[in-house]
């Protein structure tokens, strides 16, 4: 397996070099940066970046059709920037090409006294939210942006949280107080003004009604708000509003040690459990140069798939519930509970075990770990057909969801949709197959596809994915490799305990890594994975310290929610619920 991994990584870096060479032919001024993760990285300038991005999207063949991520780095106190252009704030664009099976990273340096850059929301519509987020977090101004309003932070907020000078703890700030006049101002800022949301009060012949769906509503799955512009029960426009669940997970990444940040990742996609650890530890391992054993890889795959099942279970149950079917969620919760018990016997935790470690997993599998899993697989093989006939074959449910919230593959890619939502349009692209990680290339499983890209297909794809995940788990059961559960590497955290009491070197290592945490070599890495809801990755920048310099969490749900207006126009109120239910998001995964 090691051989194949090496070969594939060599292949990808060769492909990467090709893109950069093509790009340099058109733009000879670009500066290339070598990053540890083999993701081609080039520096453009503020003036040229729009042309570079447009060229990457349309000029190259095959092009980079998806804007995967857009973020920024506050570079002002970063020490290890050898060979990079001078920059106070760097805007980072990450693009994804499905034909090339690869990513590219474009960086633009900005100076502190002139934080302006042209918007690219006309090139990719999903840049809209990313740019607004950047503006909130770093104070970078995106010129000609169509809706230059705060997205994540409240309109009344002062400061930019992800700047280095902004405190990360409440204890570093003045004690909180809310005098009456400030409270009035805050209240006033909350007043709903349709114009600010890009909506009008009156049409040609009607007055519209504005319905505020959320942030507290039974069907919005958390604290999510959609302002609906209604003509009767028909939706003229829908504008999503996010940020109610923002907990500053990225900021905490800069505060916690590499190791002690792990539990925070679990809570980003809080249904994904340890699957959130995976992109994080893989990125760190890349920077640290740790190669984990096949056993670790297989254990990680197995638990990730367990959590994929858990997440899809919840999706499937609430999906049925949101179109008014009461019972399926209760049956599914019984199965879900069984799986949680299994996860508990293996990891000791249930929803958020934080069980992966830098260079391995927390513990070896307990004795008899496979017995209950086998029972579970047997049980699910029996139950899944029931769920199919109860929910997916139900005629009323089909009436409610077939042809509702339709988008095609091109639109999906344009908006940055990944995961089940993309495959529901019939587009066969799953990261686990296309750019395998953690040994997924060794497993035999199928990629379920939809046809129409409607709410029904999105549910169908995820339902079938549960069955495929069961297959993967079964293969893990049958072929679990022997080997250590932690890599023998100085940066493995916590280090293997066996030798700590025998020689002083490892004892010191153990002590330092447990107390301060490991110092990860300076560098940048990002390793996307196919998470429960789509592509998820941690773009980590290390400055050679015990904490990350910048932790960027790219979550799938953020992109998916931005597409809601696209899907909702002209539908009825009840359809919005079906559409929201079919997206499969959690707000923690959106706001982070």
């Amino acid at each position: 397996m090691t051989a194949t991994t090496l070969a594939s990584s060599r292949g990808s870096s060769a492909r990467a070099a090709g893109v950069v060479a093509d790009l340099l032919k058109v733009f000879p001024d670009l500066q290339v940066q070598n990053t540890i993760d083999d993701m081609p990285t080039v520096w453009a300038t503020r003036e040229s970046v729009r042309q570079v991005l447009a060229c990457l999207k349309r000029g190259l063949s095959p092009g980079y059709s998806m804007l995967y991520d857009l973020t920024a780095i506050d570079e002002r106190v970063r020490a290890n920037r050898r060979g990079q252009p001078a920059s106070d704030f760097t805007v980072v664009y990450q693009l994804l090409s499905f034909e090339r099976n690869g990513f590219i990273r474009i960086k633009v340096p900005l100076r502190d006294n002139d934080l302006h850059i042209e918007t690219i929301s006309d090139i990719w519509p999903n840049a809209n939210w990313y740019e607004r987020e950047c503006r909130d977090m770093f104070g970078i101004c995106f010129d000609n942006h169509p809706t230059p309003y705060p997205l994540i932070m409240p309109a009344t907020w002062h400061g930019h949280p992800l700047r280095k000078e902004h405190p990360a703890r409440a204890t570093e700030m003045e004690p909180f107080s809310l005098p009456d006049e400030i409270q009035d101002q805050e209240q006033e800022a909350l007043r709903f003004d349709p114009a600010k949301w890009g909506m009008t009060r009156h049409g040609d012949s009607t007055d519209f009604m504005f319905l505020n769906l959320g942030p507290n509503h039974p069907s919005v799955h958390g604290v999510f708000r959609v302002a609906l512009q209604l003509d009767g029960e028909e939706i003229v426009d829908a504008v999503p509003d996010i940020g109610y669940h923002h907990r500053g997970a990225e900021k905490m990444g800069e505060r916690q040690a590499w190791h002690s940040y792990m539990p925070y990742t679990d809570r980003v996609d809080y249904l994904g459990g340890v699957m959130n650890n995976l992109p994080y530890v893989m990125a760190i391992e890349k920077m640290a140069g740790i190669e984990v054993s096949d056993r670790v890889k297989t254990i990680r795959v197995m638990l990730s798939e367990c959590f994929r099942i858990q997440s899809h279970f919840l999706f499937f149950g609430t999906f049925a519930q949101d179109v008014g079917q009461m019972s399926p969620i209760f049956y599914i919760f019984t199965d879900r509970e069984m799986m949680f018990n299994i996860i508990e016997t293996i990891t000791g935790g249930r929803m958020h075990p934080s069980w992966f470690r830098i260079g391995g997993v927390a513990q070896d599998l307990p004795r008899g770990w496979d017995i209950k899993l086998r029972e579970f697989i047997k049980r699910m093989r029996k139950n899944m057909p029931h769920y199919r006939s109860m929910v997916l074959n139900n005629r009323i449910l089909k009436q409610r969801t077939v042809g509702v919230g339709v988008y095609d593959t091109a639109t999906a890619i344009e908006w940055g949709v990944t995961g089940g939502g993309l495959r529901a349009t019939g587009f066969n692209w799953d990261m686990r197959k296309q750019i395998p990680y953690s040994g997924y290339q060794n497993f035999d499983f199928d990629i379920p596809l939809g046809i129409n890209g409607d709410a029904y297909d999105r549910a169908l794809v995820r339902f079938e994915e549960i069955i495929q995940s069961l297959r993967i788990i079964e293969q893990c059961l049958d072929h679990m490799p022997e080997g250590p559960y932690k890599a023998d590497h100085p940066l493995t955290t916590p280090p293997p305990k066996e030798r700590t009491m025998r020689d002083i070197e490892t004892l010191i290592h153990h002590f330092v890594h447990e107390s301060w945490g490991p110092a990860i070599p300076a560098g940048e890495a990002c390793t996307p994975i196919e998470a429960t809801k789509g592509l998820n990755s941690y773009y980590l920048v290390s400055d050679g310290n015990t904490t990350s310099y910048r932790t960027r969490i790219r979550t799938p749900s953020f992109a998916h929610l931005q597409m809601i207006p696209e899907m909702c126009r002209g539908m009825m109120v009840a359809d919005v619920i079906a559409i929201i239910a079919s997206i499969d998001f959690v707000m923690a995964d959106v706001d982070r």
């Binding site: 009604m209 179109v323 008014g324 009461m326 019972s327 139900n394 009825m572 109120v573 009840a574 619920i577």
Partner: protein, 315 residues
């Protein structure tokens, strides 16, 4: 004297029975759904959780009697009263057994239809008086849904009336001594059942209060006993629909061996359980689909049933 006492006993007894069993139904429904959904349901208060009803009632009664400041106070208070009143009044014409029944009207069936029509007002008033957008949408849906399904409710019954030759419910029961009307009027029974569920706006016809779309629909702003009256009203209406079906299609109190009242209650309970099971099983159609189903499927079927029955009766 004794007949007056008997009458009073009849009236008060049935009133108490109807309201109490409607309240009990909340417990029955939750327990049954629990069993069907592989969970327990309320099982803490009293044996089998049977006192859950009492606990709920205490909770509702102890709550502050709150009317939102933006609501139209008078209409807001009247709406749940109507909801409760019309269904209880409609129950007055149900003949439960020989000698048991509040009133024996010649036009019992028409009275029933009139009362159920009135219940649309309670929902509309409640929605209108709440001055809440979710309530408004729920009220609009309710008005359209109840008016439409009212039509099929009435039409589906006319076949029975033709066969029995009377609007008097007691006589309709007696007309079924040879054969329950469910056999010649099977289609009408189905139509009435569907329309009846729609009238009491229960799943899959619970669009006026669709939790997942409209939070609580027309009673979003209601709390305490005013909400309780809407709630109990709904369950009385379930009971009413089931009782009406028993009277019209399943031979009322008729049956061998067991006393008449037991037969009546037994048949009614089975139908009530069926309605609960449907709630557990089906999702909710969309508003326009519901209306299309009503006018494009239910109406033609009801018409055909009427014509065919008419022809058969004449021949």
């Amino acid at each position: 004297m004794s007949s007056i006492t008997a009458n009073i006993l009849n009236v008060v007894g049935i009133l108490v029975f109807v309201v109490a069993s409607a309240a009990m139904l909340t417990w029955v429904e939750r327990r049954m759904l629990g069993i069907w959904q592989e969970r327990y349901g309320p099982n803490r208060v009293g044996p089998f959780g049977i006192l859950q009803v009492a606990a709920d009632m205490i909770k509702l009664l102890m709550k502050e009697d709150w009317v939102p400041p933006f609501a139209d106070r008078f209409v807001f208070v009247v709406a749940p009263t109507i909801a409760m009143f019309v269904v209880v009044a409609a129950y007055a014409v149900i003949p439960m057994a020989p000698g048991i029944g509040v009133i024996d009207l010649n036009i019992g069936l028409l009275f029933f239809l009139a009362m159920t029509s009135l219940s649309a007002y309670s929902v509309m008033f409640g929605a209108y008086a709440s001055d809440n957008k979710y309530a408004l949408l729920g009220g609009l849906r309710a008005a359209a849904q109840m008016l439409s399904y009212e039509v099929f409710l009435g039409l589906s019954l006319m076949g029975v009336v033709m066969l029995a030759g009377t609007f008097n419910l007691r006589e309709i029961v007696l007309a079924q001594q040879e054969q329950w009307f469910v056999i010649p009027q099977f289609l009408a029974m189905l139509l009435f059942f569907i329309a009846g569920i729609a009238e009491s706006h229960r799943t899959p016809f619970d669009l006026p209060e669709a939790e997942h779309e409209l939070t609580a629909g027309f009673h979003t702003e209601y709390s305490g006993m005013k909400f309780g009256m809407f709630f109990i009203g709904e369950y009385v209406s379930v009971l009413l629909t089931a009782s009406m079906m028993v009277v019209l299609f399943f031979g009322g109190w008729l049956g061998p061996v067991l006393p008449p009242l037991v037969w009546f209650l037994l048949k009614t309970s089975i139908l009530v359980l069926l309605m609960i099971l449907i709630r557990g099983a089906l999702p909710r159609p969309r508003y326009d689909q519901l209306m299309a189903f009503g006018w494009k499927v239910m109406l033609p079927l009801a018409m055909i049933n009427l014509v065919v029955t008419g022809v058969l009766v004449l021949v």
